[in-house]
């Protein structure tokens, strides 16, 4: 029996388990790309508008940080600038979660043990997962290339852009294959891989911000940090601008290296074990642990700490970038005018800061979903049954979880505002004042997060079996409405579905109480529905 015996069979198992997920992934990415390309073409129909776009994007540090470097004035280049980061992030996270799901999660649940005892080679489970996920990335990229050509873009550029996106997926497949060997839990493996995605984003943003604008003003040559970020490689392919095909070897090389490392690690460890051996712990429970609140804090604190570090780093760098943005505006009145139009005529810096805080609020929606879905995880595991068989009411149990997630959201929002303010204040000479002002402005986003919490709670109460899928879908819809709604020119009624649409963009505009009160009321109603439904249903269900 070789180390790969059973790979084909296991690959078919992966396909069978994920047939719906994979179909959505493989078809959804090209469809999204097609829709985005079409609407970008509508907004920038001629050379003149695209020249304006490229010049602005190349000189704007914010655009560089969030959209990546622009490569010329071809329609395809504009499409890539507008869509690459979103698509790349989606593909990176999909690949990461898929790898963990079919490797470490199987070990954690004991399914791998059952399989390992049958005629299955040591490397077969990992190989099967990687084969399917790399194939999915490849297929999605091929279809995306077809979609881009279908949207009227040149063939070579379309293939390069689609391959760049696929390359990101392949690169993070490799990274997740390694993190799945390191952590004992699938949650930990996902967290490690997702942290790598975040780090890649920051490195790419830094490299693109630090890059040079070309002489004609329509291109950006990224600095070295972009080259050590798998998310940055896709931009360096320069699709639609004299494609550099050799850059596509980087993700392939990373895949080979990652797989080799993952195999080596798998060879050296026991089934179910990680590289970090579990430590012993206290023999008795500390008094502060022994309550639903204490338990919720204990379960949340690691997640919260991880988020806090990420938020603080991102906040500080966004804040510091805000001042560069100021310099850039001073030096480029044309760009200022363009951004002024986009920012709704408000003070440019404040428009930028408001946009950053809005982005934080969207991202922290993921924290709220993650934190609250723990209840469903506990129910599925059977832990909830043990807890509810004690003298703790369902209302108290669920209420504690909601409260913990809300307090976490408050803390992270405040941290986001304060660090952004500090970053901006340090370079403008008023750290304390800016920290207080932006901290307050960030907290005004809380009602939108409360609505997210309400949505998850209501789903958990009413449709517990679909909690995970529906909750993340809801957040993704909010995210897409916020990020792409304007690009896709969706009607206002559709945009209004997202709670984030209704949050006043402080500090760009004055705070308004009414929308916040309405959001809070909607959140309260959703929470009430969720708790009531949970009280009246079977556990586990």
């Amino acid at each position: 029996m070789s180390a790969l015996t059973g790979t084909t069979l296991l690959a078919r198992l992966v396909l069978r388990r994920d047939r719906i997920r994979l179909a959505i992934w493989i078809l959804g990415t090209p469809l999204l790309g097609y829709a985005l390309a079409g609407s970008v073409a509508g907004i920038y129909p001629d050379q003149e508008t695209r020249l304006g776009y490229a010049t602005t994007s190349a000189s704007s540090l914010v655009a560089r940080a969030f959209n990546g470097p622009i490569h010329g004035t071809d329609l395809g280049a504009v499409v890539v600038a507008e869509t690459y980061v979103t698509l790349a992030l989606i593909v990176a996270l999909l690949s990461t979660f898929a790898v963990t799901r079919h490797t470490r999660q199987n070990e954690e649940t004991g399914r791998a043990e059952l399989l390992g005892a049958s005629v299955v080679g040591r490397y077969a489970p990992l190989t099967a997962a990687l084969l399917v996920i790399v194939a999915a990335n490849t297929l999605a990229a091929v279809l995306l290339a077809v979609a881009l050509v279908g949207a009227g873009l040149p063939l070579a550029g379309s293939v390069a852009a689609a391959a760049a996106i696929g390359g990101v997926g392949v690169a993070f497949t490799a990274i997740a294959a390694v993190t799945a060997q390191l952590s004992v839990t699938s949650r930990g493996a996902n967290a490690l891989a997702a942290a790598t995605v975040g780090l890649s984003f920051v490195l790419r943003a830094a490299g693109d911000v630090l890059g040079q604008q070309s002489a004609d003003g329509t291109r950006v040559r990224s600095a070295w940090p972009s080259w050590i970020s798998p998310l940055g490689w896709g931009n360096q392919v320069r699709a639609f601008d004299g494609e550099r095909w050799w850059v596509l070897f980087l993700p392939v090389a990373l895949l080979l290296a990652g797989v080799a490392l993952a195999y080596a690690l798998a060879e050296r460890r026991d089934q179910g074990a990680g590289l970090i051996a579990p430590r012993r712990g206290p023999a008795t429970g500390a008094p502060r642990l022994l309550s639903p609140t204490g338990l919720a804090w204990r379960m949340q604190r690691g997640t919260l700490l991880g988020w806090a570090v990420g938020v603080a780093v991102l906040g500080l760098s966004m804040g510091v970038a805000a001042d560069e943005f100021n310099d850039m505006i001073d030096a480029n009145p044309a760009a200022a005018e363009a951004i002024n139009a986009m920012g709704g005529g408000a003070d440019l810096i404040n428009a930028y800061l408001a946009a950053m805080l809005g982005l934080f609020a969207l991202t922290l929606g993921a924290y709220v979903v993650q934190a609250l879905l723990r209840v469903r995880g506990d129910e599925a595991d059977g832990v909830l049954e043990a807890a509810l068989a004690t003298a703790v009411s369902r209302t108290r149990w669920l209420g504690t979880q909601v409260l913990a997630a809300t307090l976490g959201a408050v803390a992270l929002l405040l941290l986001a505002g304060v660090t952004t303010g500090l970053g901006y204040g340090i370079v403008t000479g008023d750290p304390l004042g800016q920290a207080v002002e932006l901290g307050g402005a960030a907290l005004l986003r809380l009602p939108a997060l409360l609505v997210v919490a309400g949505v998850v709670t209501a789903i958990f109460g009413l449709l517990p079996r679909f909690s995970v899928m529906l909750s993340w879908t809801a957040l993704l819809v909010f995210l897409l409405l916020g990020q792409l709604g304007a690009v896709l020119e969706l009607p206002q009624a559709a945009l209004n579905v997202s709670p984030y649409t209704h949050v006043p963009a402080v500090p760009a505009v004055d705070p308004a109480a009414l929308p916040l009160v309405v959001l809070a009321a909607v959140a309260a109603a959703l929470l009430a529905v969720g708790v009531a439904a949970f009280r009246h249903r079977d556990v586990p269900s």
Binding site: P278, A283, G285, L289, R298, G382, T390, V392, V539
Partner: protein, 329 residues
Amino acid sequence: MPVISIGNLVKTFGAIRALDGLDLHVEQGEVHGFLGPNGSGKSTTIRILLGLLRRDSGDAQVLGADPWRDAVRLHRRLAYVPGDVSLWPNLTGGEAIDLLGQLRGGLDRRRRDELLDRFDLDPTRRCRTYSKGNRQKVAIVAAFSSPVELYVLDEPTSGLDPLMEAVFQDEVRRVKQAGATVLLSSHVLAEVEALCDRVSIIREGRTVESGTLAELRHLTRTAVTVETARPVTGLDALPGVHDVHEVDGRTHLEVEPAHLDELLGQLIRFGVRALTSTPPTLEQLFLRHYGDDSAAAATGVPAVAASGAAAAAAADAGAQADVPQGGAR
């Protein structure tokens, strides 16, 4: 007043009728065995008693209260050991025990330490590193550390070794002595025989038998083997005598306990040289109830054979038990 009183309980999951008019009565201070094949509705019943599941119809009272409406108040007075214990993976065993005890309203610290010692459980290990047996121990220690009125134990000893099984039985006797009531769902018949005052047997969501073990035995035939000077005749005509057949000059038969006297009266006339009478074993008793009698008689295999490993084992035993009867005819 009974501690647990269930009448005509019905619970459906979609099209599946998990409980179909179940009755269960557990008196104060008794250890009550709750038996039935896999999938017969034991865990569903227990979850309704704990207020985790909502009953569709029927009555359910625990310690005089409604388990759904008064769940929290009731849970201060009872402790539960689930059949498949899952714990918070990042807490240590000690922390999980203290947490469960505290959530229940407090535990006896001295007893907790004593139980940890007796069950030989290392409380400093993370729950995710425990084997099934050790997770089971965590739940058992947490339950028995709480001085409560009712212990609800759902297959508590699955995964325990015989040594630990003995410790567990000691604990059940201890809480019984202290006046507590125990509902014990179990497939370990020796454990049931050693501990239970009364048992209820359920099948397909319905109670098929309930009583003391002696009472249940009384309902089941005794196997008799007799060697006589002259060939025995006329047995088939006797009431309550079944499956008469002869092997090597010995007569084998089964008799209902109520008709034993008449049988002996008849046998004596043929000059009894040797006679053995074997009361039904617990296994036979349960197999009779677990298996589908009519199907078993027709095919030699109980109808529940497909429902799980234990039932499959039961089917094996049932088939063997049936062979001498059917085969000799």
